[in-house]
């Protein structure tokens, strides 16, 4: 269909593989996302903590640098599970902020403009649409959580030696699993809210509320009835219990022992939130809603 010909012509060229089509969505989404100076600035700030931690790891292994700054090796925070746990906590907070900026517009923009039929009339399923939208966040949040986390781990292993690597593989596992859980939860929450609340600002507020209000209510109920089970409805606390377990960190050092949920129940609670989000998404991500 050359411009000069001005006639309708079919396309006879190569097609991209079906499995890779969902990646078209993040590719186009990033163009819009990085046009925002606020987002770009925040995204850059997200790499400050990994950079500082890389410097700390480097200092641990560089006697000359320590001498230059007149620091004793013992004065620097040790590189262990707690070090990576703190890293994950900081990066998780940034992940939440990025999600608040990007997530709520992902689906709502298409729903507001009735764009879903245009996606779904193509060889593109609802699942691929959700996967495409989710991958916008999954890729972004991975870049600031487990990817730098594992790079720091590899850096430390490289400087410390193979023995440290084999003895601390569980740290890599904790960083990866903890990050992925947080990413999945944030992604699904923001997509579900974006699908149900079409006004972006309200969806951002709802995402913030979803992670803070249940915490307040669950803590209140927990205090009143002296039961840990109210935390089943508090996704951030569920994630904390699971992450603490991954890092072999004793959660009861932060709370009264009776407030700590068994880890298996925290996993079940998280699975419940994931299932609920997927159900909410499946109700809204349709070409057309049928009211019977």
């Amino acid at each position: 269909m050359a411009v000069y010909e001005h006639t309708y012509q079919p396309y006879a060229g190569r097609l991209t593989p079906l499995w890779s089509r969902f990646l078209v969505i993040p590719q186009h989404a990033y163009r819009a996302v990085f046009q925002s100076k606020l987002f770009t600035g925040l995204f850059a700030i997200c790499f400050v903590c990994p950079l500082i931690m890389a410097i700390i790891i480097y200092l641990h292994h560089n006697v000359n640098a320590l001498a230059l700054f007149r620091i004793q090796s013992a004065d620097i925070v040790p590189i262990n599970g707690s070090f990576f746990r703190v890293f994950l906590m900081i990066q998780s907070s940034f992940a939440f902020l990025l999600t608040v900026l990007v997530g709520p517009a992902l689906v709502s923009r298409d729903l507001t403009n009735n764009a879903l039929p245009l996606y779904l009339c193509r060889p593109f399923s609802r699942a691929e649409y959700v996967l495409g939208k989710a991958s916008v966040l999954i890729i972004l949040l991975s870049l600031i959580t487990w990817v730098p986390g594992l790079l720091l781990f590899i850096f430390q292993s490289y400087l410390e030696g193979f023995g440290w690597l084999t003895a601390n593989l569980w740290i890599a596992n904790a960083v990866f699993v903890g990050s992925v859980l947080w990413i999945v939860l944030l992604t699904l929450f923001s997509l579900a809210l974006s699908a149900w609340i079409k006004w972006r600002v309200a969806a951002s507020g709802a995402l913030f509320a979803l992670l803070t209000i249940p915490m307040a209510i669950a803590s209140l109920i927990s205090e009143l009835f002296r039961t840990p089970w109210s935390h089943l409805f508090n996704p951030s606390m569920l994630l904390k219990f699971v992450t603490d377990d991954l890092f072999f960190y004793d959660s009861s050092s932060d709370f009264d022992p009776w407030m700590v949920l068994p880890v298996w129940s925290a996993w079940i609670g998280l699975a419940g939130f994931v299932a609920l989000s997927l159900w909410l998404l499946s109700r809204k991500v349709r070409a057309y809603e049928v009211i019977t």
């Binding site: 403009n113 009735n114 039929p117």
Partner: protein, 307 residues
């Protein structure tokens, strides 16, 4: 403009229900035209039929085949060959038109470079070349319709569903849209399914029609055939016609009926041409003041189907 031998769409006892409500009931039959018009009053099931063929709604019974592929079992393969222009406004407001059409092309499987190239071409083709870098939110209604058409054809589909494409367009924009539809039809590269409640639009563009009423097929006809057949029906208004003139017409083998004073209707037989009528009239000093092809218009067909 010959119809292809194989049906484009085959309806096979297709039924669609929403809850307890039956929207489409036992639709059956092949659709073979190059441009197929879907007609029917509001709520007849035109849009639901298109949506079902696109895979948006699951049939509750029966099925349909597009280019021989079952819409139930080969939904993705079917959709690779389809373009769809929805009735309602459907776009992404924050995007420039060329970016939007490119995104749609990439989702259809075109590599990024080819998608961008085809997006530019499609926008020039529909007449939005100069406005392609403007955001869709700033477009007028007519421009949005053209942008929707561009995204429907950008990947070069073999079958294009157009749902009320002329809705809300002013007369020049409407004519332009109909011209584009005819061009696509005449290119021979794609079949167009045009759903509209505007009989004139369908008559202008389509060679086959399917009329739906209450979710059932009320009529299906090949407009090309009808047009050819109707060319044999004539209505004459004369001055000075007599019984002798009528008998002379009958002697040519034409059936006739006198419908009023100096008016008669007749059916031309094969081998008899209009000039023969003029010859007979001249020989008998009869003036033919008016001669019309008395064809059943689409409106007649539609009204009969609605009875």
């Amino acid at each position: 403009m010959k119809a292809p031998v194989n049906p484009v769409i085959e309806l096979d006892k297709l039924r669609v229900t929403f809850g307890k409500r039956t929207i489409l009931e036992d639709l059956q039959g092949p659709l073979k035209g190059r441009a197929i018009g879907l007609l029917g009053p509001n709520g007849a099931g035109k849009t639901t039929l298109i949506h079902t063929l696109l895979g948006f709604h699951k049939p509750s019974a029966g099925t349909a085949r597009i280019f021989g592929q079952d819409i139930r079992s080969h939904a993705k393969q079917v959709r690779t060959q389809i373009g769809y222009m929805p009735e309602r406004d459907s776009f992404i407001a924050d995007m420039t038109c060329v970016h939007f059409v490119r995104l749609m092309a990439e989702l259809s499987g075109l590599p990024p470079r080819a998608a961008l190239e085809r997006a530019h071409e499609a926008l020039f083709y529909v007449g939005l070349g100069e406005a392609r870098y403007r955001k869709l939110g700033t477009y007028s209604l007519g421009m949005k319709q053209l942008a929707k058409l561009a995204q429907a054809i950008v990947h070069g589909p073999r079958l294009i569903f157009l749902d009320e494409p002329t809705n809300g367009l002013d007369p020049p924009a409407r004519l332009r849209m109909l011209e584009l539809i005819r061009e696509i039809r005449d290119s021979g590269h794609a079949t167009v399914v045009l759903s509209s409640h505007l009989l004139h639009d369908v008559e202008e563009c389509c060679d086959e029609i399917l009329i739906l009423k209450g979710g059932r097929i009320a009529a299906q006809c090949d407009l090309e055939e009808e047009r050819r057949a109707n060319k044999r029906f004539l209505e004459l208004e004369t001055r000075g016609a007599s019984a002798e003139f009528a008998e002379a017409i009958a002697s040519l083998g034409c059936e006739y009926a006198i419908t009023g004073e100096q008016r008669l209707k007749l059916v031309l037989q094969d081998g008899v041409e209009v000039r023969d009528l003029y010859r007979i009239a001249a020989e008998r000093k009869v003036q033919i003041r008016r001669l019309n092809y008395k064809r059943d218009s689409l409106e007649d067909i539609f009204l009969k189907a609605m009875e």
